[in-house]
């Protein structure tokens, strides 16, 4: 019972309303006089409270920006902002209700019948979206912090806090089982809280459960799915003040489903008018909220519940005008609220119609778990049978205490446009009959054609009536007609809750802050943040900044942070053997102190990754991988190691090591001020490596040249990152050194025609067609991909990776189409404006017959065609002399 001493205010459509503690949004609005809670999906018919249990779609509202919130199970809080949905300008005066006059133009399957051309849908869609539907999704990124994810384990999960669930939890708990009890209501007790004749809430059992340390009770949480391996999806509303919802992944050894039954409406004309309610909804308003939901009532009933409800109505001071059998009712009357009931014997005036509907086992979870739903004529329900091991049903969900409230299939179905079966998407009995007459007479096809059971209530309100109507119209029995498949989520789940909090990891290199201070403009590379380029006082646009960085490397010296490279330390007697097996190049004969480049292929000869491998000692190698492929390469190496018995240990040292590439004609002059290591080409030639101190820090120096200039890739412990970065820039001051970013690096390497695996290659690229035949050592007796590569080496290529130079000023985008003689012949993989050539240069895959020197190709640029020429060599220093200087 709502406590009347504690009152506060909240907002509805800008109006300030009063609520009492214990109120839900719906009960507070109802007490404030609101009767229309929603406008229906298609026809904008007024809809009022129906089930009061979160099972129907009739009270969905926007609460604090979240759309489609079920107002009847959401506790109202002070200051809450509630807004209506799908009505203009207001719920009480909805201009869009005029749509209903045209219902003759909107038969079942309307889209399929009218949108027969693509243009018709494109023309109609914007208007349909405005006129029909539910709430409006919030702006992207809005409020995802308000949702949480949690993981739990239980020996037994009990779903449902009614008498059966409580009893099961108590017995299993006393037997020593660790239990999580999930209940969707704010308080335990189930139907005993509002059905006074059914008995008292077992306060002693609840107290005992709360005292047991092995029992955890989660209220205001519903289970929306029972998945493989007894994984339960649980949505917990308002777990604490800071969160709207928490999604719990609950894994249980055993599940007890005690979800009870729910009540479904009868079908008669205007059965959806506000004021036509389910009896359990009326009981909830009276007993949970202290609300009198009318002054004069008609009960429509066929079963044992009529007496009980009549007692409740009398107790609340509501006059009982008549008790009618469902078959007697022709229609409800009224326009925005019920004013009476019409029967064969005339009209009875009333402002409340109470439907004591058929009770339906809430067995969706049991069906999802693999159980079957078998029709029982005696119970008038589909009952859960053949449950899998470790899933049990308890209490009313088994159907054991059900009685049939009506004959099923019904003897008479009032096929009428206003006799609604599905309240979610306005499907009437007439729509079902039309669907069946058009050939959709199987319950599953009828469902898909009419959208019956596919709305937010997921069939709770409409499934039984839909099956009944289908069985009636097709002359089948209920059992022959059968049920549609239950699938999670049921009930619906907020997308924000499924997405959860934004916990996207971000990786920063040890020099991150130094880049920031130098004006880095950031880009994402997987989880990593890398400087794309550095904004400085001397350059305005990205292109001019990149060109300044480019010139520093080509003419003086540049420094780039390459800490994001994957770094693997490989040790052991058989390390060379493993690398020989997995990489295409040969490493067992590599001399300590030398570096070799290689690609890594799969058995089909497709290039998966590339990198350099340095031999530090007889039994010690150091591998670099591309930034995004580290995990893959490590797992790949370890996979091929399984079962060999070889002595190899692979350690991922990526996070522990920082790395920079110092490159440019004056790189040596910069570096030699910081190290005693002899950097002369004689002592330290191209493709050599040395371990030495740089500015006092222990470092590994690799003389390699991705950007095409004399340079060293320097690897050192991450804790020296900022220090060494600063020392190198300081030492380079005299040479006007510049830090450079990924964009300049990509341009520099492109001029050298150095391929980036995964950018210039894809899942069809082999080394031969990519022009890297030298990297596959087919004279090795065996390695991964050798068999396929040895065939590719002899096969005529289908396509080739070639370089091209533009004839004019056009700069193609990566991915642009290539035409030869007007026919599609390939695509660009990388293209940049090259200061060296004064024109854009790039790499492209071109059909083999056109991939010859000097061939003129056309490239699509900005909607027109630009001309380019294929060139065989690197665009810069083709002989590689500058690398070796």
């Amino acid at each position: 019972m709502a406590d009347s001493s504690d009152r506060f205010t909240f907002q509805f459509d800008g109006e300030t309303l009063e609520a009492r503690s214990g109120d839900t949004v719906a009960s507070a609005l109802y007490r404030a006089g609101r009767r229309i809670f929603t406008r229906s999906f298609k026809y904008h018919r007024p809809r009022g409270l129906l089930c009061l249990a979160g099972k129907c779609p009739n009270c969905m509202m926007n609460v604090d920006g979240t759309p489609n919130v079920r107002a009847c199970i959401t506790p109202v809080r002070a200051g809450m902002a509630v807004r209506h949905q799908n009505a203009y300008p207001s719920l009480d005066h909805d201009w869009l209700a005029a749509v209903q006059r045209f219902d003759g133009l909107m038969p079942v399957g309307w889209y399929y019948k009218t949108m027969t051309h693509e243009w018709s849908w494109h023309a109609a869609e914007p208007y349909i979206r405005k006129v029909a539907g539910l709430g409006i999704a919030p702006e992207p990124g809005n409020g995802s912090k308000d949702y949480e994810h949690a993981w739990m384990n239980a020996e037994t999960a009990v779903i449902g806090g009614g008498p059966a669930g409580l009893q099961a939890a108590l017995e299993l708990g006393q037997g020593g089982s660790q239990i999580v009890l999930i209940d969707d209501q704010p308080e335990l007790g189930g139907h005993l809280r509002y059905r006074k004749r059914a008995g008292d809430v077992p306060a002693a059992v609840i107290a005992q459960l709360r005292s047991m340390p092995s029992v955890e009770i989660i209220s205001r949480a519903y289970c929306f799915g029972l998945y493989e391996g007894n994984l339960l999806g649980v949505l917990h509303a308002n777990p604490h003040a800071g969160a709207i919802e928490r999604l719990i992944h609950l894994r249980a050894k055993r599940v007890v489903v005690a979800t009870g039954v729910y009540e479904v409406p009868f079908t008669f004309e205007n059965n959806d008018l506000p004021g036509v309610m389910l009896s359990t909804g009326v009981q909830r308003l009276i007993h949970l909220h202290g609300i009198k939901p009318g002054t004069s009532a008609v009960i429509v009933a066929n079963g044992a519940h009529a007496d009980e409800v009549a007692d409740d109505l009398r107790g609340a001071g509501i006059e009982l005008v008549a008790v009618l059998a469902p078959g007697e009712v022709i229609s409800a009357t009224g326009s925005s609220h019920v004013t009476g009931i019409r029967t064969q014997n005339g009209e009875v005036a009333c402002d409340l119609v109470v439907m004591c509907g058929q009770r339906v086992p809430d067995a969706g979870l049991l069906h999802q778990a693999g159980g079957k739903l078998a029709w029982s004529d005696e119970r008038g329900a589909f009952l859960p049978v053949d449950l899998p091991a470790n899933v049990k049903a308890a209490g009313e969900v088994t159907g054991a205490s059900l009685t049939r409230a009506m004959s099923l299939p019904p003897k008479h179905v009032p096929f009428h446009k206003r006799s609604f079966v599905c309240f979610c998407s306005d499907v009437s009995t007439a729509d079902l009959r039309d669907g069946i007459s058009e050939g959709f007479d199987h319950i599953e096809t009828l469902k898909r054609y009419t959208t019956l059971t596919m709305g937010p209530c997921q069939g709770r309100m409409c499934q039984l009536a839909g099956i009944g109507a289908c069985a009636h119209e097709t002359g089948r029995t209920m059992a022959e007609t059968g049920v549609t498949t239950s699938r999670p989520p049921n009930p619906s789940v907020t997308l924000g809750a499924l997405a959860g909090p934004r916990h996207h990891p971000i990786r920063r290199t040890p020099m991150h802050d130094a880049h920031d201070q130098s004006g880095a403009v950031w880009m994402d590379m997987g989880e990593w943040k890398r400087p794309r380029y550095y904004k400085s006082a001397s350059c305005e646009s990205e292109r001019s900044c990149v060109e300044e960085e480019y010139r520093a490397v080509r003419e003086r010296a540049g420094l780039i942070d390459v800490s994001t490279l994957g770094k693997l330390d490989v040790k052991g007697r058989d390390a060379g053997k493993l690398l020989d097996k997995v990489y295409t190049n040969r490493f067992s004969d590599l001399k300590p102190g030398r570096v070799r480049y290689s690609v890594l292929c799969d058995e089909a000869g497709i290039m998966l990754d590339d990198g350099t491998i340095s031999r530090l000692a007889e039994d010690h190698y150091f591998i670099t991988t591309t930034t995004g492929n580290l995990d893959f390469v490590q797992q790949w190496l370890e996979w091929w190691l399984v079962g060999t018995g070889w002595d190899v240990h692979i350690t991922n040292v990526t996070g522990g090591r920082a790395a920079v590439n110092l490159a440019g004609p004056q790189a040596r002059d910069v570096l030699k001020t910081l190290t005693a290591c002899d950097l002369s080409s004689k002592a330290f030639p191209y493709m050599a490596c040395r371990e030495a101190e740089v500015a006092g820090a222990p470092a590994l120096l690799l003389r390699i040249g991705f950007v095409g200039e004399t340079g060293w890739e320097i690897h050192f412990p991450a804790e020296y990152g900022e220090y060494l970065w600063a020392r190198l820039l300081e030492a380079g001051k005299a040479y006007d050194i510049r830090p450079f970013g990924v964009e300049a690096q990509r341009l520099l390497r492109l001029e050298k025609r150095h391929v980036i695996v995964g950018v210039d290659t894809d899942a069809l690229s082999n080394p031969y067609e990519a022009g890297m035949a030298w990297v596959a050592k087919l004279d090795k007796p065996d390695f991964i991909g050798r068999n396929a590569l040895s065939r590719q080496a002899e096969a005529a290529p289908q396509q080739n990776l070639v370089g091209f130079v533009m004839n004019d000023d056009a700069v193609p985008q990566d991915g642009a189409a290539i035409l030869v003689d007007g026919a599609l012949a390939g695509r660009v993989t990388s293209a940049r404006y090259s200061p060296k050539n004064g024109k854009a240069v790039g790499l492209a895959w071109v059909a083999a017959k056109s991939a010859t020197e000097g061939t003129e190709i056309q490239i699509r640029v900005n909607g027109s065609t630009a001309r380019a020429r294929i060139v065989p060599e690197a665009f810069y220093d083709p002989a590689g002399e500058r690398l070796r200087m």
Binding site: Y227, Q635, V642
Partner: protein
Amino acid sequence: MSFLIPCPHCGHRSVYEFRFGGEVKARPQPAAAAAEWMEYTYTKANEAGVQKEWWFHRSGCRQWLQALRNTTTNEVVEAFFPE
């Protein structure tokens, strides 16, 4: 898909901790016939029933293991480190 895999090192863990590594197949000898290599490289048995598979425990012990999984029920009969 939410079944458990009994990792021989870590115990029963959610399949989301693992990376699937495909069917366990014997790699042909280097000199084997082209047809045999073709079979190994491109075809899969795709057994409807119990099948031997590679799994990598990415969010756990980071070991490759093999599992006997029924592909129709997702029941993992056994998981073990290969010899």
